[in-house]
Every structure is written in structure tokens, then in C-alpha cells.
């Protein structure tokens, strides 16, 4: 049984087609990344799956529960970490968690126990009674994540969870996300950071202009191009060629040694795969 199954999802805003028939499946316990540039349709997909936006057409299921026909049942299974920090700034961290727990039908006792556990997990126990507006951006982001985990969702939706954060805080959050996955939670992550998808995801889907271009493991997507890349910088721009082995790449690079171009040999990355399959940069 798939944790998430999306079939031919479309969304139109007037003439604008935000999603043009997206389909994918996510296996239980895995981390699936939707990778694409701004405006590709990543957030729209998550908003539809979490009940914030109405789809134009298509179907979606969480563990075979129809998301649009049984929204309350589906929502109980999902936790959402939105791109924008939507915490109550005037309330304390504990109060934010309390309201979330009550919204998801938890008892006060369960909320208190689970909050304590998650605050410790996210290294925020000392900030429990601080108002959210006094926290740093990274702390607010961590509160947002543990709030989504409070009701033990089977599926966690992370919409650009590290956008705008410092590299060291981003790394800290990656660790947190990995730990959540290791506890058995299925995760759907959207990002436009290539390295984030490469580091975290079991499977990656490239999404662009509302279409899902290709989906596979990061290794397989990279492997479709080769193992080594040769970048040739010419006056007219950058050109990249892909090769199965270092030997092939080196012999190709050697043909340029007596010319004016700058040539670099490197390993193929997920960014190469994205550029190759979508024809554009993230």
C-alpha cells in the first residue's frame, strides 16, 4: 500500500495552469522530494494535499483514504510544515503546541507529554514558555516542525523547510528531518535546494511549469547521465558533456588542452540531472 498516491492532479487559476496532471506515489517510511524552481507547482501540490487549496481535477490518497472525499480522516494522518512560519507570535511555544494538539483531538495530558518529548528532541525545552516572537528564525522553524509532529502524523509535508536559513541551521534541520524519517514517518519535501534533495531524499521528482518531468532515486537520476562531467567554458557560454568513466572524460578533456577554453572534470551531480531533464536551472 502506498503512503501517498496522487493521480493526475490539476489546478487552474483562471487561465494559469499551476498543475498540469501530476501523478506520483510515495512508499511508506520514505522521503520523497519534489524539486523545482519557484512557481513550478511544488507548494500548490502540498496545499492541495493538505486541504488548503481546492484541486481542479485529479485524485489523491493517503494509505488508500481518499483525500478529497474523506478530508477529516485524511487530515488526521497528515502533518504540515508550511513555507511561511504560521505560528501565533503572541502566544508561547507551549500554547502554540496546545492549540495544535486540541485541533487534532489530543487530550491535554497527551499534549503535555508529547510536547515535552518533542521540545527535548528539537532542543527547545528551555524555550517552552517563551513567546514565539522572541525566538530566532531557526528556532521558529523547529517549533513549526515539532508542532506538525505533535499528533504523530503518518505523513509529514515539508514545504521548503529550510528556505532563508543559514547553512549551519539548515544542516541542523536536515539532521532533524532524517531522525523523523528514521522513526517511520513518510515525508514529502519540496525544495529548490538541489543539495537538500540529494542529501535527504530516497526518491526525487523534478517538477517544472506544473508538470512532473521525471522521478527516480537521486543516484539513478545522476546515473542516467554518467559518472563524470566535463565543463567547457567558451565565449558563448558553458557546455557540459557527460561520460561513463573518468578515463573517457579525461581523454575528451585532453582534446581541449591546446585551445583557449577552460575545461573542468568533476562528478555528475543532481543539478546536472535537473538541468538535463528540464532544460533549465533550479
Amino acid at each position: 500500500m502506498d503512503a501517498v498516491r496522487v493521480e493526475n492532479l490539476t489546478k487552474r487559476y483562471g487561465r494559469l495552469e499551476a498543475l498540469r496532471g501530476i501523478s506520483f506515489r510515495i512508499a511508506p517510511g520514505s522521503l520523497f522530494a519534489l524539486l523545482g524552481p519557484n512557481g513550478a507547482g511544488k507548494t500548490t501540490t502540498i496545499r492541495i494535499l493538505c486541504g488548503l487549496t481546492r484541486p481542479t481535477s485529479g485524485r489523491a490518497f493517503f494509505y488508500e483514504v481518499d483525500v478529497f472525499a474523506s478530508p477529516v480522516k485524511a487530515k488526521k494522518m497528515a502533518g504540515l510544515v508550511p513555507q511561511t512560519i504560521n505560528l501565533d507570535m503572541e502566544l508561547t511555544v507551549a500554547e502554540n503546541l496546545l492549540i495544535h494538539g486540541l485541533l487534532f483531538g489530543l487530550s491535554r495530558k497527551e499534549i503535555a507529554r508529547r510536547s515535552q518529548e518533542l521540545l527535548r528532541f528539537a532542543d527547545l525545552l528551555e524555550r517552552k514558555n517563551h513567546r514565539v516572537r522572541t525566538l530566532s528564525g531557526g528556532m521558529r522553524r523547529r517549533v513549526l516542525i515539532i508542532r506538525a509532529l505533535l499528533h504523530r502524523p503518518r505523513i509529514l509535508f515539508l514545504d521548503e523547510p529550510t528556505v532563508g536559513l543559514d547553512p549551519h541551521i539548515r544542516r541542523k534541520l536536515w539532521g532533524l528531518i532524517k531522525m523523523i524519517q528514521q522513526q517511520g514517518t513518510t515525508i514529502l519535501l519540496t525544495t529548490h535546494y538541489i543539495e537538500e534533495a540529494e542529501f535527504l531524499a530516497d526518491r526525487v521528482a523534478f517538477i517544472d511549469e506544473g508538470r512532473l518531468i521525471i522521478e527516480d532515486t537521486p543516484g539513478a537520476l545522476i546515473g542516467r547521465l554518467g559518472e563524470f562531467a566535463v565543463d567547457i567554458v567558451r565565449e558563448k557560454g558553458l557546455e557540459t558533456k557527460y561520460f561513463r568513466s573518468r578515463k573517457e572524460a579525461e581523454s575528451f578533456a585532453l582534446t581541449f588542452t591546446k585551445r583557449a577554453e577552460t575545461v573542468t572534470i568533476r562528478r555528475v551531480s543532481l543539478e546536472d540531472a535537473f538541468v538535463h531533464f528540464t532544460g533549465r536551472k533550479v
Binding site: 504540515l80 512560519i85 501565533d88 502566544l91
Partner: protein
């Protein structure tokens, strides 16, 4: 109805964190009205054989319960357009009814606080009324009608700026024309017909009669109950419109 308590509690916690400045702000308008229209303008005036101040205060109570009840729309707008907390409610497994009731009752709570402030100020001025169940029933019903309408308007508007238009064109004129500052019977017959159609007119009549200790005004009570049900229905059906 799961989730109703979460919605209500959130608003109560916000009120709790802001209580001192909120109470201070609730006291500004009634004090000004009392000073300007009550002590200044109407010191020697009589309406229906009573001092003008006795006529004015129940009107202020009605107007304040309306504006504070309807004022829940500002909180919802902030939650929807600025803090985006509304998305947390949309993603939660709660019904529209739970959301609407939670927000509407928090509007009623705000209204009760503001009315309490007015009554405290007026008691200092030496004016006394009958505060029986009929009085509070009128206040609560009036606040409920306008809080539910506040939820409706907050759900259907597209930006924070639109909300000011609703307040300026509907709520502010009603606060002045709904029998608060003068008896509508003094107006020309045609205008009276229009003013009698305003919900606030019925709330003012109900609250004033109860405050005078003259019992329940059944006709106004019946109209307000009908309006409360209608506004609740509108609010319930407006929630889905907030989804894009």
C-alpha cells in the same frame, strides 16, 4: 464539534496576553461618548421622560457589543492574511461548524468584556440600571449576530483593506442610526422603516427595555434569534470560500 474548543481557546489566550491594553482601548470610545453626548450635550435633555444619559447608555451597550462582536473579523484577517495561522485550521481535521462557533463565541466574549467596561464607567457616573437575564440575553444575541457576520465578512474578503470598507459602510452608520443616540421615532416615517430593518435597532430596543426593568421585548428577541441563525448559516457556508 471537535476543534471548537481549540479555536475558542486560542482567541481567549490572545485576549489574555493583551488584556490590560484591550480593556484600556475598550474604555476610550464609551468614555468619549459619555462625556460628549451624555454630560456635555445631553446634561439637561430628557428622552421619553428619562434623563438622556439613561437613554444613551443602553444604546452604547448595544453599539459596543455590535462593534466588538464584529471586530473578531480583524483578528481573523490578521490570522488569515498576516500570520497565516488560518492555514493551520484549514489543515486540521475540524469542521466548518467548529471553526465558526469558536470564532463567533470569542467575538461574544470580547463584546461582553467591552460591555462590562462601559457598565463599570457608567456606574462611576452614578447611573444605575436593571441587569437581569433579559439585558444580558440582548447583549449576547446582538454580539452573536455581529460576530457571525464578522466571520462571514472575514472569509469572503480578499484583502485586509476590503474589511475597512465593510466596517465604514455598514457597521459605523449602523452604530449611529440603530437607535443608539436618538429615538428613531423622531425620524421621518420613511427613514423609520429603513432604520427598523437594522439588526442593531432591535438589539438597542431589547437591551434598553431590559435595562429600564420593563421586561423582555419579545418581538425584538424573536427577530434577533432569527438573525443569529441566519448569520450562523452564512458564516458556516463562507468558510469554504476562504480556500483558493
Amino acid at each position: 464539534m471537535k476543534g471548537f474548543w481549540a479555536i475558542y481557546l486560542r482567541e481567549i489566550l490572545i485576549i489574555w496576553h493583551r488584556l490590560p491594553r484591550m480593556l484600556l482601548s475598550f474604555s476610550v470610545s464609551p468614555t468619549l461618548y459619555l462625556v460628549a453626548f451624555g454630560f456635555g450635550l445631553g446634561k439637561h435633555l430628557q428622552v421619553g421622560g428619562r434623563p438622556y444619559l439613561e437613554f444613551l447608555i443602553p444604546g452604547l451597550v448595544a453599539a459596543s457589543s455590535m462593534t466588538q462582536g464584529f471586530g473578531i473579523n480583524v483578528e481573523i484577517n490578521v490570522a488569515r492574511f498576516y500570520l497565516k495561522v488560518f492555514e493551520e485550521f484549514q489543515a486540521a481535521p475540524i469542521s466548518n461548524a467548529a471553526y465558526v462557533l469558536g470564532e463567533t463565541l470569542s467575538g461574544v466574549t470580547r463584546a461582553l468584556l467591552s460591555v462590562s467596561v462601559i457598565l463599570l464607567i457608567t456606574s462611576l457616573a452614578g447611573v444605575s440600571f436593571s441587569f437581569g437575564p433579559a439585558f444580558w440575553l440582548g447583549v449576547i444575541l446582538n454580539a452573536f449576530v455581529f460576530a457571525a457576520l464578522g466571520v462571514t465578512s472575514a472569509m469572503i474578503i480578499k484583502s485586509h483593506a476590503d474589511q475597512a470598507l465593510v466596517t465604514n459602510f455598514i457597521i459605523t452608520p449602523m452604530a449611529f442610526l440603530g437607535g443608539t443616540f436618538f429615538p428613531i421615532e423622531n425620524m421621518p416615517p420613511l427613514v423609520q422603516i429603513i432604520l427598523k430593518a437594522l439588526p442593531l435597532t432591535h438589539a438597542t430596543r431589547l437591551i434598553r427595555q431590559a435595562a429600564y426593568g420593563e421586561g423582555l421585548r419579545w418581538e425584538s428577541l424573536f427577530i434577533l434569534v432569527l438573525l443569529a441563525l441566519a448569520s450562523l448559516f452564512l458564516a458556516y457556508h463562507s468558510v469554504d470560500r476562504a480556500r483558493d
